[in-house]
C-alpha cells in the first residue's frame, strides 16, 4: 500500500472543502468502512495521496423514518445496522435481506451503505494489478475474449465488469434516491440513474458522482399499499462470496392481481439492472407460474452471454421465478 495522509474532518463542510477537483479525483479519496477501498489500495489499484476519513462526521450513521413513511439512511450506517433495523425488516424486506446477504459478519459490521453503493466493480482482470485493462485506463477489456465466467451478460461493452453491490438492486427495487452534496449545493438522483453503463461516458467510472460531490443519504419513499418484496442472492460459495446472480423483487397485489412490480437484477450486468418490460408484463396478472416464467424470459431477453457465462441466463431466470414465487399470490 502506498503511504498516504489521513485526514479526519468532523463536519460535512470540512469534507466538502477537501473534496478534489476533477484532475485530482484519484489523489483524494473519501473512506468510511474501507472494505473495498483498502483492498484496492493494498492491491495498488487505488493509490490516493490523501484519504478523508468520514467516520467522525455526526448524524450520517442514522436511519430515520418520517411521518409520511419516507426512510432516510445515512451513508455511514453500517450494513449490519441496516440489516438489523426492525423498521426496514418490516416494511422493506428486500433491503434488509440484501444487507444481510453482503459478504461476511465482519465486513457487514464495518462496511457502510455509502461504501457499498460506491464500491468498485468485480472482474478478476480489473482486480489484478498486472492486467492493464480498459477499466484501469488500458485499451482492452480482457474479459470479453478471456475467462469470463463471472462477467456481465447484460449491459456489457466495451467493458464487461459486474457491479457487485447487493444493496443497489434492492434499493432501486424500493425506489430509492441518493442525495449528492457538494460545496454550496446538493442534488437528488434516483439510484437507478446513479449508475452509468460502460458505453456511457467514462469507462473507468461507474456512477454520476462528481469528484467534488459526496453521497450523504439514501431516501426511500413509503412503499405502495400491499407491497411485498424479497432479495435472493446466489453465491458460488455460500460463505462469503459475491453474487453470481441476484434478484430484487417487489410487488403490490390487490385481489390476487399484481398492481405494481419492480424487478432489479444484480451480479449479471455492468450496473444494477432493472427490467421494466418484465415489470410491465406482470402488472394486471396473477402471480402464477405462467406469468413468472413470462417475466423471467422477458427480463433476460436481451442477455448477451460471453463464452463462459451462458449459465447465468438460466440461473437468473430461475432466480426471478423463485423470488416472485416467494412473494406469494
Amino acid at each position: 500500500m502506498k503511504a498516504f495522509e489521513l485526514i479526519r474532518p468532523t463536519t460535512l463542510d470540512q469534507v466538502l472543502e477537501l473534496l478534489p477537483k476533477k484532475e485530482n479525483r484519484d489523489r483524494v479519496r473519501v473512506v468510511s468502512g474501507g472494505q473495498d477501498l483498502y483492498t484496492e489500495m493494498k492491491e495498488h489499484l487505488a493509490e490516493p495521496d490523501q484519504l478523508i476519513d468520514l467516520k467522525r462526521l455526526p448524524d450520517l450513521d442514522r436511519i430515520e423514518v418520517d411521518a409520511a413513511g419516507t426512510v432516510t439512511i445515512g451513508a455511514l450506517v453500517t450494513i449490519a445496522a441496516l440489516a438489523e433495523d426492525l423498521r426496514i425488516q418490516s416494511k422493506l424486506t428486500v433491503v434488509s435481506e440484501a444487507a444481510a446477504s453482503v459478504a461476511s459478519t465482519q465486513i457487514r459490521n464495518v462496511g457502510t451503505v455509502g461504501g457499498n453503493l460506491n464500491q468498485r466493480p468485480r472482474c478478476w482482470y480489473y482486480r489484478h494489478e498486472g492486467a492493464k485493462c480498459l477499466k484501469k485506463g488500458g485499451t482492452e477489456c480482457f474479459s470479453k475474449e478471456g475467462l469470463n465466467k463471472y462477467n456481465a451478460i447484460l449491459g456489457g461493452g466495451p467493458s464487461y465488469i459486474v457491479h457487485p453491490s447487493d444493496l443497489a438492486p434492492a434499493l432501486i427495487c424500493a425506489g430509492a434516491e441518493v442525495v449528492l452534496v457538494k460545496k454550496g449545493s446538493s442534488r437528488s438522483v434516483l439510484l437507478e440513474k446513479y449508475y452509468t453503463l460502460p458505453s456511457e461516458g467514462d469507462v473507468t467510472r461507474e456512477t454520476v458522482l462528481e469528484p467534488d460531490e459526496i453521497l450523504t443519504h439514501v431516501k426511500i419513499p413509503a412503499p405502495p399499499a400491499g407491497w411485498r418484496s424479497t432479495y435472493i442472492k446466489f453465491k458460488e460459495r455460500g460463505s462469503f462470496d459475491f453474487a453470481l446472480a441476484s434478484v430484487a423483487a417487489g410487488i403490490s397485489v390487490d385481489k390476487e392481481v399484481i398492481r405494481f412490480a419492480r424487478l432489479v437484477l444484480g451480479g449479471v450486468a455492468t450496473i444494477p439492472w432493472r427490467v421494466p418490460q418484465a415489470e410491465e408484463k406482470l402488472v394486471g396478472k396473477k402471480n402464477d407460474p405462467a406469468s413468472r416464467k413470462e417475466a423471467a424470459e422477458l427480463a433476460l431477453r436481451r442477455a448477451e452471454p460471453l463464452s463462459d457465462n451462458e449459465y447465468k441466463v438460466a440461473l437468473t431466470k430461475n432466480l426471478i421465478e423463485r423470488a416472485l414465487a416467494q412473494l406469494g399470490a
Binding site: M1, K2, A3, H44, W124, Y125, R127, H128, G130, A131, F142, E145, G146, L147, K149, F234, E236, R237, G238, S239, F240, D241, L244, D308, N309, E310, Y311, K312, A314, L315, N318, L319, E321, R322
Partner: protein
C-alpha cells in the same frame, strides 16, 4: 486394568487396547490453550532486536528475459538490501512467479515499497501455461525435447481392445482435474537469527526440523552443528514444506550479508505462485465390465500437469483389480474379483510440462486425482448394469477390508432406504432439489522408518519430559509424544511435557506421507519403556526388593504381586493408595540431581507396514434452479492401527473430508493463457469452502483393525471425498461431471444438456 510397566519385561509393547488409559482415548491437545489464546509463537510471529523484513520479487510472466536495476530500491530510506537473487542482474526465468530479486528493510511496508521500486524489464518469451498451449506447436517449450514427457506404460493395447469389445458395459470419459493449492494458513518462510557470530538459529515453518540446518549452515558459512532449527509451532504444510527452500536460502544469505536477523515470510500471492501445488491431470479412461459387474478392461491415458515438475498420479485402476474376461465362475458370489488378471489393462502416464511452478507433494500425492475418474466410471458402469454401486465396488476390490468398510458407510448414510441406487432421482422434491448418495474408497501405506531418537526424562522434582526434535504440523504430534510417555507410568497426560520442534533434541524424520506416527511413536514408546526400566532398577535398590516384584501403576511404585481391588485403585488414583510402595513424587525424590532417563529409537516391531484402507460416502442435495450442490453428510470409515488419540484421528478424517469437499466444490488455479497471469492468487478468488459449506461429518474408526501399531492418518482421509460427492451429484440429478470443481455453472450446463436429450425433469 490399567497400563502396567513391570520390571524386566521383554521389551516395549503397545499392549491390549482396553488396558490403556490415555492412548486409544479422546485426548485434548496439550497445546490447545496456547493456540487458542494466541500465546503459541509461529515463525511468522518471531520478532528479534535489529531484525529486518525481507521480501521477494516474483517474475510476473511465465518465462522472460529479465534485466534488473535495483539502485533506486537500494537508496530508499530504511532499505538495507535490494538485489537480484544470487546477485544476478540478468536472468531467464522458467515459470510464472519465479523469485528473481529480494529486498530487506526496516518494516514490512518499506520492504514492499522497495520491491516495487526495483526497475525490472521483462522481455516475454513464448510461454505455455495451459495444457492447450503446452500441446500446441505455438506454445513455448518448457523442455528442450518438448513439453510432453516420456510415457510410463503398462499392458497391451490389443489385449485391452479385445477385453473391452467383449464387455457387457462400457464407459469412456475424459476427466479434467485442476491444480489445487495447499493453502497452508502460515505461508512458507523463515526467520534467521544471525549476527555474524559462530552460531545461528533458524525459525522455520517446515515439515522437517532436520531438513533445514544443513543448507542454512552452508548459506551462513557455518557448520550444521552451529545452526539450530526451531519449529515450535507451524501453520500447516500438507506436503509443501520440506527443506530450506529458495526463501530460506535467500534469508540466510541476507543475514550473513547484513549481520542482522532476517524475517522472510512469503506473501499469500507468493504462496499461490511459487510454493507448489497439487498437480492437475487430464485422464482419458475406457473401462469395460462383464455382465456381473467385474472390471475386465481398462485403458487409461493420463497427462500429469505439474508445471515445470512432473506431477503425481497413481495407477488409473487405483484400488480396484481387474478380473479376466472369461465367463464368471461360482467365485463371483464371494464378493471378490473372480480371477485377478491384468490382461485387459493398458495404461500410459506422462507429464505435460508448463511454465508454472513445480507441483509438490500434497496430502496423498496423486491419489485424489486418480480417485475421481475411476470412481466416476465405476458408478457409470453400475448404472448401466443396474448393479448397486456398493455391490459393484465390492466385486472389484481385492481385499477383505474395503467391502466391510463400504457396508458400514452405506449403513450409516442410509443407503438401504435410498430409493434410487442406479438412476437419478426421478421427480424433484417440493423445494426444487434432488438428493443423491455416492461412494468411493481410499488406500495408503502405513510404513514408518528409522531415524527418530526420543529421550524420556524423569526429574527429581517429579517432572516427566518426552523430548524429540520432531515438528508438529498441527496434527497433534506434540500431544501423543507426551501421552505415550505418560501412559508408560500410568500418569495423567498433564504430568508429561513434550519438548519438540528443535534440532538440538533427538533426530526426527520429516513429516510426509503419513509416516510421522509410525516413525516417531515407536521411538517415543521405546524411550518411555527404557526410562521406566531404568527407574525401576534404581527404585529396586532404594526399596531393597527384586526388580521383578516392582511395577508402576497410576504413577506409583507398587508391589507387582498385589493385584489392586477397586477401592485401592480409586485411592491410588488419588495418589494415596495404601499398597503403593512409593508415590510418584516420593519415587522421584530418591533420584540424583540428574534424574534418570531412557533413550529410544524406531522399533519396527511396534509398527505395521501393510497399508490402510478407507471408504467414504457423501449425501448431497442439488438445487435444479441454481445448480448449487449442498453436501448434507459425509461419512468416512478408516482403519488406522492403534489410535494414539481418537480425537486426533477423527480430526484427520474430518479434515480430509473437508479438504476433499473444498476440492470438489471450489478449488482451482485459474491462469489466463493470453496474459500469463494467475487470476485468483488470493483467498477471495481462490475459493475455499467455508462454514456454510460444511455438512454433518461422521468420522468412524474401523474397530476391526486390532493388533496393529499406530499408523499415520493424514493422506488416506483426503483421497475419496470429492469422488463420492461427484457420484452423489450424478445419483441425485443425472449430471455426470468430468471436470472439477463441481460449480453451479457446470451443473446448470449439465442439466440443460440432459433436458435437451429429454433426460430428466
Amino acid at each position: 486394568m490399567e497400563p502396567v510397566t513391570k520390571g524386566k519385561a521383554d521389551g516395549p509393547q503397545w499392549g491390549p487396547r482396553d488396558a490403556m488409559t490415555l492412548l486409544n482415548h479422546n485426548l485434548r491437545r496439550v497445546d490447545g490453550p496456547e493456540k487458542v489464546s494466541g500465546r503459541a509463537r509461529y515463525t511468522h510471529d518471531i520478532r528479534l532486536p535489529g531484525m529486518v523484513y525481507a521480501r521477494l520479487l516474483l517474475c510476473p510472466l511465465p518465462t522472460a528475459q529479465v534485466e534488473l536495476d535495483c539502485s533506486a530500491a537500494s537508496k530508499l530510506r530504511g532499505v538495507f538490501a535490494a538485489r537480484g537473487l544470487g546477485g544476478k542482474t540478468s536472468m531467464k526465468t522458467g515459470f510464472l512467479g519465479q523469485p528473481i530479486a529480494v529486498v530487506a528493510a526496516e518494516t514490512p511496508e518499506l520492504a514492499e515499497d522497495a520491491v516495487r521500486a526495483i526497475q525490472a524489464t521483462y522481455k516475454a518469451l513464448p510461454w505455455s501455461v495451459t495444457p492447450e498451449q503446452a500441446l500446441s506447436t505455438e506454445g513455448g517449450k518448457v523442455k528442450d525435447n518438448g513439453n510432453l514427457g516420456k510415457p510410463a506404460t503398462e499392458g497391451d493395447e490389443d489385449k485391452f481392445k479385445k477385453a473391452f469389445d467383449s464387455s457387457a458395459a462400457k464407459v469412456e470419459g475424459e476427466f479434467h482435474i485442476p491444480i489445487q493449492h495447499h493453502c497452508s494458513l502460515e505461508t512458507h518462510g523463515v526467520v534467521v537469527d544471525f549476527n555474524g557470530g559462530e552460531t545461528a538459529t533458524v525459525y522455520a515453518s517446515t515439515q522437517g526440523t532436520f531438513t533445514v540446518s544443513g543448507d542454512a549452515a552452508d548459506a551462513l558459512g557455518l557448520k550444521a552443528s552451529q545452526v539450530t532449527t526451531i519449529v515450535d509451532y507451524m501453520g500447516g504444510g500438507f506436503g509443501s514444506k520440506f527443506g530450506l527452500g529458495v526463501e530460506g536460502l535467500t534469508a540466510c544469505e541476507l543475514a550473513r550479508e547484513l549481520k542482522r536477523p532476517v524475517h522472510l515470510m512469503m506473501t499469500r500471492e507468493d504462496e499461490f505462485l511459487a510454493a507448489g501445488n497439487r498437480s492437475g491431470s487430464i485422464v482419458k479412461l475406457k473401462v469395460g465390465a462383464d455382465s456381473e459387474g467385474r472390471l475386465i478392461a481398462l485403458d487409461g491415458d493420463v497427462m500429469k500437469l505439474g508445471g515445470i515438475g512432473g506431477g503425481a498420479f497413481n495407477k488409473p485402476q487405483y484400488a480396484y483389480s481387474l478380473s479376466d474376461s472369461k465367463p464368471p465362475s461360482q467365485d463371483e458370489e464371494s464378493g471378490k474379483p473372480a480371477r485377478p488378471s491384468k490382461d485387459g489393462l493398458h495404461t500410459s502416464i506422462r507429464s505435460l510440462y508448463m511454465h508454472t511452478d513445480s507441483s509438490r507433494a500434497m496430502r496423498a500425492p496423486g491419489h485424489p486425482q486418480t480417485s475421481f475418474p475411476i470412481e466416476s466410471v465405476i458408478d457409470d458402469l453400475a448404472y448401466q448394469l443396474k448393479i448397486d454401486p456398493v455391490t459393484m465396488r465390492k466385486k472389484n476390490l481385492a481385499n477383505e477390508v474395503h467391502p466391510k468398510q463400504l457396508d458400514r458407510v452405506a449403513e450409516r448414510i442410509g443407503w438401504a432406504k435410498h430409493p434410487n441406487k442406479t438412476a437419478p432421482q426421478e421427480q424433484p422434491d417440493a423445494d426444487g432439489t434432488k438428493t443423491g448418495i455416492g461412494f468411493a474408497v481410499t488406500i495408503w501405506g502405513s510404513h514408518g522408518g528409522a531415524g527418530c531418537e526420543c529421550k524420556v526424562a524423569i526429574g527429581r522434582d517429579g517432572s516427566l519430559q518426552s523430548i524429540v526434535g520432531s515438528q508438529d504440523l498441527g496434527t497433534g504430534t506434540r500431544t501423543y509424544v507426551a501421552a505415550i510417555a505418560a501412559e508408560e507410568f500410568g500418569l495423567p497426560l498433564s504430568a508429561c511435557t513434550a519438548k519438540i520442534g528443535n534440532s538440538n533434541y533427538g533426530n526426527a524424520n520429516p513429516s510426509g506421507g503419513s509416516s510421522t506416527v509410525p516413525s516417531l511413536a515407536p521411538a517415543v514408546k521405546s524411550a518411555a519403556y527404557k526410562a521406566a526400566q531404568a527407574f525401576l532398577e534404581h527404585l529396586a535398590g532404594v526399596v531393597k526388593r527384586p526388580i521383578e516384584e516392582l511395577e508402576f501403576r497410576g504413577g506409583s511404585l507398587v508391589d507387582a504381586k498385589v493385584l489392586p481391588d477397586a477401592k485401592e485403585e480409586k485411592e491410588r488414583k488419588a495418589g494415596k493408595g495404601p499398597k503403593a510402595l512409593m508415590t510418584w513424587k516420593e519415587a522421584c525424590a530418591t533420584l540424583g540431581a540428574a534424574g534418570i532417563s531412557g533413550e529410544g529409537r524406531w522399533d519396527q516391531s511396534l509398527t505395521h507396514a501393510d497399508g490402510v484402507h478407507g471408504a467414504q460416502g457423501a449425501k448431497v442435495k442439488v438445487d435444479l434452479a441454481t445448480g448449487r450442490v449442498q453436501v448434507l453428510q459425509m461419512v468416512g470409515v478408516q482403519d488406522c492401527g492403534l489410535p494414539l488419540n481418537r480425537t486426533a484421528v477423527e480430526s484427520q478424517l474430518n479434515g480430509g473430508m473437508i479438504q476433499a469437499l473444498s476440492y470438489a466444490l471450489h478449488e482451482e488455479r485459474v491462469i489466463d493463457p493470453a496474459l500469463g497471469l494467475m487470476l485468483n492468487a488470493n483467498f477471495n478468488d481462490y475459493k475455499l469452502a467455508g462454514c456454510q459449506e460444511m455438512p454433518e461429518f461422521v468420522p468412524l474408526i474401523d474397530e476391526d483393525d486390532i493388533g496393529r501399531g499406530p499408523i499415520g492418518m493424514a493422506e488416506p482421509a483426503v483421497t475419496p471425498g470429492h469422488s463420492a460427492i461427484a457420484n452423489a451429484i450424478c445419483n441425485a440429478c443425472g449430471v455426470r461431471l468430468h471436470s472439477m470443481p463441481f460449480t453451479a455453472d457446470k451443473i446448470l450446463d449439465g442439466l440443460a444438456a440432459l433436458a435437451a436429450k429429454g433426460g430428466t425433469k
